[in-house]
């Protein structure tokens, strides 16, 4: 009945700060990370109602620069970078030659270079793949001396604008350079909770100072990885290594939106042939959201079973939704069973669970988009 304990993991810039805030630390992506402070349920609800501060410094921050950059990067990402304006970011994917997902990431055009944020557990592999696929003339830097914070929730803009005047002028999926009490910061209006919010890249040496300024705001509390996972699940967002991996393609994962129309038609990126084939002919399975009947959560690894009890799919994320107060899950199911309303049977821990395909997100997104009025 015990959980992951402290190990000899690498420490992040805010390690001592988290411990001083009362965090319980666990091993994640090779680092000691805060799983919770007060409790996952309280932290989750606080983020949905006010603003939560997340330390995501384990993620990889890269810059990519050089001549003919758009063309070079279009050989590795399926994004339409020619449409991406300065200070704008996009969700994209790193794919293998069979269209398996090596990582999901955010790419931002920043003046003469691109800024890319990748998952912590995959960053070293990503860098190796990028280096092997990009021409030698393209520069690739891993910003190991930068920390990354995320401030998420409906009161995030109000709290952050108090210490960073003007930051609330950013709209969803845009970013710019700011200063926080003299600390240079790259801030984007983005995140992975489904809430309005910001991601803040700052020098690691200033991370404690900035985190302290943020939690001094009455709207802000530090939030652990436990609530980060339940928030992103409610938001219907896949988690790399769980809902996505090298055996899943973007079409199976229902991430076709991350590949622009032009790139789908023209190809010219790893795995393009497979994606074009799947777009024309469909896939066998697809990632869907499930509402699980009853109160017992169904976890990652549970089987999706047919009427005869044969495994036809798998649950890739599952838990209890603190907002809906019911179990929810993401699963790969046969395409014929992927329509909302379809009854799904799951097998886990020696029991059969009844579930229903439902549209995602489970909890509506609340982004502040351009032209939406503020």
């Amino acid at each position: 009945m015990s959980e992951a304990s402290e190990t000899a993991d690498k420490t992040l810039p805010l390690d001592a700060w988290h411990r001083a805030q009362g965090a319980r630390m666990v091993s994640f992506a090779g680092y000691a990370m805060p799983i919770q402070y007060e409790g996952i349920m309280v932290e989750h609800r606080w983020t949905r109602e006010s603003a939560g501060l997340f330390d995501v410094s384990h993620m990889g921050q890269l810059t990519i620069s050089g001549d003919d950059l758009d063309a070079a990067l279009e050989t590795v990402f399926p994004a339409d970078l020619s449409l991406l304006k300065d200070g704008r970011l996009r969700y994209s994917l790193l794919l293998n030659d069979e269209a398996g997902i090596i990582d999901d990431l955010m790419v931002t055009r920043r003046d003469d270079h691109f800024y890319v944020v990748v998952n912590g557990a995959t960053k070293d592999g990503d860098i190796a793949v990028l280096r092997s696929r990009l021409p030698a003339s393209i520069g690739l830097d891993h910003l190991t001396s930068q920390a990354l914070l995320a401030l998420q929730g409906p009161k995030a803009a109000e709290a952050l604008a108090r210490i960073v005047p003007g930051v609330d002028a950013l709209t969803f999926m845009t970013g710019d350079a700011f200063e926080i009490n003299g600390v240079p910061a790259w801030i984007s209006r983005s995140g992975y909770t489904g809430e309005d919010g910001f991601e803040i890249s700052i020098p690691a040496e200033d991370a404690e100072k900035v985190a302290g300024l943020l939690i001094a705001q009455p709207e802000v509390k530090p939030i652990g990885l436990g609530a980060r996972d339940s928030l992103r699940l409610e938001a219907g967002m896949p988690l790399y290594g769980h809902d996505l991996d090298e055996t899943t393609t973007p079409i199976e994962a229902d991430l076709g939106f991350a590949i622009s129309k032009r790139r789908k038609e023209e190809g010219g990126f790893p795995g393009a042939a497979r994606i074009q084939h799947e777009l024309a002919n469909g896939t066998i399975t697809r990632r869907v959201g499930l509402a699980v009947l009853g109160r017992q959560p169904v976890r990652e690894g549970a089987m999706v079973v047919d009427g005869e009890g044969n495994e036809v799919g798998r649950v890739t994320s599952g838990g209890f939704s603190p907002v809906l107060e019911t179990p929810i899950a993401m699963a790969y199911v046969p395409v014929a069973s992927a329509e909302p309303g379809t009854a799904i049977r799951l097998a886990s821990r020696g029991k059969i669970f009844e579930a229903k395909v439902v549209p995602m997100p489970f909890v509506p997104h609340r982004y502040i988009r351009k032209g939406a009025g503020q």
């Binding site: 015990s2 959980e3 996952i40 349920m41 017992q296 959560p297 976890r299 209890f320 603190p322």
Partner: protein
């Protein structure tokens, strides 16, 4: 009435030949917010060390093992409606099940309150 503890973080309160079983305050603190509990039905035979109940937090599922061999007299129906009783009153209203003790000798292998406290402090 005597109270005993296991290394799996269950408490056992024995009165006559009936034992009431739950998880300790230390255990609920480790698990975090409890969102689901499944308790055994009356009449179920359980064996010491065998699976007897399931407890799920927001994060993870855990089995609860029977600390003694015996027959279940009652599962705590209140936990179905309000699993958070395990968080708010783990060693009281948040009990899991009562069973009839079939072998008193099994009690001798359990820890006292002092021994359990020392065991938790060493975790």
């Amino acid at each position: 009435m005597s109270i005993y503890y296991t290394q799996e973080h269950e408490w056992i309160s024995v009165e006559g030949d009936t034992a009431t079983v739950g998880i300790t305050d230390f255990a609920q603190g480790q698990l975090g917010d409890i969102v689901f509990v499944e308790v055994p039905a009356a009449g179920t035979q359980v064996k010491k060390g065998g699976e007897a109940a399931v407890v799920e937090s927001v994060k993870a599922a855990s089995d609860v093992y029977a600390p003694l061999t015996g027959q279940i007299v009652e599962g705590n129906a209140a936990l179905e409606a309000d699993p958070s009783l395990v968080n708010s009153d783990p060693e009281g209203e948040g009990w899991f099940f009562k069973l009839t003790v079939s072998d008193n000798h099994e009690l001798s292998g359990l820890m006292s309150a002092e021994e359990y406290k020392a065991f938790c402090d060493a975790q």
